[in-house]
Symmetry: C2
Subunit: 329 residues, 2 copies
Amino acid sequence: MRIAIDAMGGDHAPELIVQGALQAAAEWPDTELLLVGNASAIEPLLAGGIPSNVKLHHAEDVIAGDEEPVKAVRRKKDSSMVVAGTLVKEKQADAMLSAGNTGALMATGLLVVGRMSGIERPALAPMLPTQDDMGVLALDLGANMDAKPEHLLQYAIMGSVYRAKVHGLSQPRVGLLNVGTEAKKGSELTKAAFELLEQAPVNFIGNVEARDVLSRNCDVLVCDGFSGNILLKSMEGAAGMIFSSLKDAFGHSLLTKAAAAIMLPRLRHLKKKMDYKEHGGAPLLGLNGLVVKCHGSSDALAVKNAVGKARIALQGELISSISAEINGK
Amino acid sequence: MRIAIDAMGGDHAPELIVQGALQAAAEWPDTELLLVGNASAIEPLLAGGIPSNVKLHHAEDVIAGDEEPVKAVRRKKDSSMVVAGTLVKEKQADAMLSAGNTGALMATGLLVVGRMSGIERPALAPMLPTQDDMGVLALDLGANMDAKPEHLLQYAIMGSVYRAKVHGLSQPRVGLLNVGTEAKKGSELTKAAFELLEQAPVNFIGNVEARDVLSRNCDVLVCDGFSGNILLKSMEGAAGMIFSSLKDAFGHSLLTKAAAAIMLPRLRHLKKKMDYKEHGGAPLLGLNGLVVKCHGSSDALAVKNAVGKARIALQGELISSISAEINGK
């Protein structure tokens, strides 16, 4: 099994990306890792020796975080991200990972790796944190801003296969993000999607309200990309405001600082729990190969974890399983 | 000025609703309050004497929290909510308040009080809490699930007039809830609304991401009712999960309990800050009269505060000001 890693994408590229790849290579000797990026930037990071299951694949160019995604992907054929995508397309790699420009990675998925036959729109599917630390797979979180009911149906199927193959859940519970739990609630989109999901070959448990997502009453949360983005960023915003206010409150006096010292380890754990970045890479589902988005701020551990999940997905034949479900084979 | 109060709607009706009305009557002797509801339930609560500016207006029936809104409003003509709406329609009251069934109140607004001429869809406009305690008026938060760009434009105008008249802001900053700050970001809906808002007679500052809403970089947040609901309930969900985890963390040992004792007053303040219910009533804008939704869990203070805000809105001639802006007079 061979995984291409965009060594140049992300806030800590190439240093921590390469470090994470080396850690993954040591942990999983059966997995070959292709470090895609500028040789002159990567080689010094391999001065300690290159493990036999790591290969450097030179790519001259880099797509920056603020570049216009589609233009960048079309123009920069020799960028680390596009080259990694090309390796997947040409079956020289089974999967690719990148912590770079999210929009450009979605464009690479569509324009380079290619859409899976039968899929209308690919979906970005990160894990959201939940109260019980198990997480919920939410999709779409931003690949497709104007979803149709049929897209939501496909998200449900892809998400269910992913949870079964990667997390070993049998009969993952699928919920539809909505403004109320009753069947007739919501927009035209959610009402039509609800009817499709009731007939679908998934374990559909009905509508889920945004405030209940973190209680994990479902394993797969289906939503359109716009609402999904609002969901994720609202939670981030609320958590950020509370933690910042807590910091102020704990810094108020000597007494509150003493309280802070007592509580610090537990608060750190809580903050980490609320941080969806910690949950590792998010697959872009519905493509002709496995493409994984790592958070821009990924460190070595995040990269290593993402490699680990990609391995499990490949071992479970995720892509062909999704294709079989979507195309009813 | 005369304000009709649905004395029978809400978790604590009629007791705390009547108590709040009595407090408001004492504070603002110039304001006449009509307590609408079942006389046999309300009269015992007025045993201590009825102030001269409080009148009891009997209504036999009540709309329950779980009734199907439109059906209930059509059938229960003699319910406290519908009677209060009828008083506004017939100009026997200038405004109405209710802590009852939200859907039924929106139906009462549309079917009884009536839509303002020139308005396509009324909007529910609560204040969301912000880091600086000033709050942001968000609309629509659920009156209209399938908004068109023109609706969002009207929300922006109505919200701006409300912030100017009720909170005294000159040039309130209007933001559009979106998935990114750049002009071209978002769904077909937000892209079209962005263009309309740029031309509108409001102080449009551009797109606002969900995670930045609480930092209050705008005074009026415009969104469709579906996304607005997701925004609000995601924040509630995240805050609920954090506070529940904090409670667990503080309850862990004697030492953490000591820390809790030190921190309790500050944590209470923070929890209160995050609670949008504390921000009082939410106007339903775009009707032929002022209709205010109080939270279902409203206590006497919440009712009194809602009366206070309704007074300011009426003094500022909110309804005719909105009509003038919408109809370009």
